[in-house]
Symmetry: C2
């Protein structure tokens, strides 16, 4: 177990995340410079708002949180045992530049391989989802607080399944996702981090995304787990390296979805 004061870390992370909201809103729905950050031909926008948030300090590490310095969106996880992730980068840049409020500012703390604290802030809707391991998950909506609970009685057959965009899945993941979708009540695209947050809220029962960076998902893990859900990679482990991630409202839905997405069902 860790000796970290997770309640203190959560307060610091909440302040740091919510404080970055106005920076993002300065650019949201305004003409902004959009750079293409990838060289491989796939369009991957990064905006002035991203950079403004990444360079915005004071650093949480200067405020009593131990471990290596926090890191920006572009930084790689290098196997440190204790780290701040996300650093208030915008997740969902494509939604951001479109004006859709499904992006968020994420910040999380991982210690000894375990996501302990997570915050997601959506400054346009005025929502903040947050959790610290062992203390439950909560949503603050413009001053009103409420506990977060996944839909504990969800089954795969009545599940609402989300993902962000079909292009994120190569094969065989794309075909497996299609097979999963046919088993669910409703499938929708356009999720971004907002759909992960709605798993914790109980509206969505299953969110499967691929190609995630660690900082895209680790801040959301404590929020979903503390609300009763399960979040893993395709090996059924904590998604410390990102990649393909399955977040489910309960362990039963997660087990069925993992079986389909990992291909183990078809090999039985």
């Amino acid at each position: 177990m860790t000796s970290l004061d997770t309640a203190h870390c959560l307060r610091v992370a909440l302040d740091a995340t919510v404080d970055a909201g106005p920076i993002a809103l300065e650019h949201f729905r305004r003409p902004i410079a959009v750079a293409d950050k990838r060289k491989d031909g796939r369009y991957d926008p990064v905006t002035e708002a991203d950079r403004g948030i990444e360079t915005f300090h004071p650093s949480p590490s200067a405020r009593g949180i131990p471990g290596p310095r926090h890191r920006g969106r572009g930084a790689r996880q290098r196997g440190q045992q204790r780290d701040l992730l996300g650093d208030r980068s915008i997740d969902g840049t494509r939604a951001f530049i479109s004006g859709m409020p499904t992006w968020g500012i994420l910040l999380g703390l991982v210690a000894e391989g375990r996501p302990l604290v997570g915050v997601m802030h959506q400054p346009f809707t005025g929502e903040t989802w947050y959790a610290a391991a062992g203390s439950g998950a909560r949503l603050r909506v413009r001053g009103h607080e409420q506990p977060l609970r996944c839909r504990a009685d969800a089954s795969l057959g009545d599940a609402v399944l989300y993902s962000t965009h079909p292009s994120m899945f190569g094969e065989p993941l794309g075909a497996r996702y299609e097979a999963l979708a046919t088993r669910c009540r409703l499938q929708r695209w356009g999720g971004d981090c907002y759909a992960f947050a709605l798993v914790a809220q109980g509206g969505i029962d299953l969110m499967v995304d691929a190609g995630l960076a660690p900082y895209d998902i680790l801040p959301l893990v404590p929020i979903i787990e503390e609300a009763g859900g399960t979040v893993t990679d395709l090996e059924g482990r904590v998604p410390l390296a990102g990649g393909t991630v399955i977040a489910a409202a309960n362990a039963a839905v997660h087990a069925e979805a993992l079986s389909i997405m990992s291909g183990s069902e078809s090999r039985r």
Copy 2:
């Protein structure tokens, strides 16, 4: 030309639409009864919130707006020359039951085959898009007003293209939509009525949806047109019967998208 007082009609429509917001929010993100309204096997949810809004009066027609009575989501357009459409039904029920804020409450007025007044209200985000023909389009966000302007200088090659879900397109529309997407800078799913509203706001340059009812689209037509955009069906006409609809930030982008979606480009 019509002798309608469109400014008065807009005020009535704004009141009627915004007044329905709290009814929808009573059910949003709460466990709700969801009925399946179709018999053909496709899942098409209708919620208590829908019915609450549909049965919520006072009727706008009792408040000085001429023409036949307003109509609910389930009603069919019967060719009347002057009508209230939408009647504060929720557009985007799938988003609604998922907890996503991309649904809206729509109300519009069509007179002599021309959409004259349109309102879209999103009570969770606190946004109201509205327009009356000849008077410009505006967005009110939690008390702040701003004019709406489509991106006048958008070209197809740098356009952000949205739609709601691939399943709405049969063939050959699906293949045409894919061809259109490869010509645009960015394609995203998960739009609902919110993506049409963002065409008027300038974040999205092109929104193409299929299978729309008249009350799904006609309230949005004055909002997009007054912001400088173009909205038609596949024949290039006012989408009085709904169906497949192309909404674009300007006439040039619209013409290119219409050419591809109508199949006339491939026949050239």
